[in-house]
Symmetry: C3
Subunit: 134 residues, 3 copies
């Protein structure tokens, strides 16, 4: 089963929590056991699984990424968004999660998050569910 | 098929090799062909696939992570473990491996490792096996 | 279905685009819906999904990685390639992609890339396709 989530970002750096929408996709699929691939088809954004409770964490993550990979530096890429590509690689183009007993498995403090690194933009996230026979 | 590995960490930074336990889970499942998701449900630890032979490598990895993301800095998150969240994001919440001919596919020098970044704690790792029909 | 891609790298840092070969593997499999795991069995190389159009991006990525994780430093690992292990961990040992309607799902500007961090070497990439029943 395949689903597409769409979102609009409003700043260069921004984090969206996808967890609730993903839970709905899994529930609607009727799949009891399997995997859920949450995939970012963009090259300057990422999908992350981490702390979803205290928003101070995502602001800290953004700050540290900007310190390690500054927006302005002697980059070759003419578009000027090399830093966003680097952050996307470090954070990951996708996350894979389990579906067990019909529910998405996410830790108590975890959220599945979309990290925008080159907004504002219109973005999408591709969700692919795979059912297992075992 | 779903399995849970549990472990107890004893220091802030610690690495546990999960490879042998994962091989047992795969063998016990009887699955011949498919995928194995090794998932960390915590936000201050990670699952990594890398060198499992020389323990100096994991110590180097720990040192470099601590240099790039120091424990003490002007972080917003009140719990004081922002660095652990960052390291978890950089290293990854999960790893996906192949099952081929009933065996977990891991490179000759590779191990599947649990990286603790905010121990000591009681931790768990969720393993999900998916069998393919093709 | 399982396939193996082989490649020869010629420099310490090098990037190979695997996308066309992967599309062929998926087409040849006949799988209509599922997942494709692109796995690096080596500990000093990685598989990345990012910008595949402007080669300046991969050169920038290489430069930033070398700035953050210098080849020479006070590392413990006697082989002298600690930096390559670190880069492999940060970039990821594998990438998982979707197969939808018989085609590999890759974003418009994305490529699936093999990053060599300790070449020149003979390398391989293991591809595992999983078909879903849902």
């Amino acid at each position: 089963m395949v689903a597409k989530l769409t979102l609009r970002t409003h700043a260069r750096d921004e984090v969206h929590d996808l967890t609730a929408e993903l839970r709905e996709v899994v529930a609607a699929s009727g799949i009891r056991q399997g995997l859920c691939l949450v995939y970012c088809p963009h090259t300057t954004a990422a999908v992350v699984v981490n702390e979803g409770y205290d928003p101070a964490v995502t602001r800290d993550v953004t700050d540290v990424l900007n310190r390690l990979i500054p927006w302005q530096a002697s980059y070759r890429h003419a578009e000027g968004n090399t830093a966003a590509h680097l952050k996307a690689i470090f954070c990951g183009a996708s996350q894979t999660l389990a579906i067990v007993d019909g529910r998405l498995v996410v830790g108590a403090w975890q959220a599945v998050q979309f990290y925008e690194f080159d907004g504002p933009r219109q973005r999408e996230v591709q969700v692919t569910l795979v059912e297992t026979t075992a």
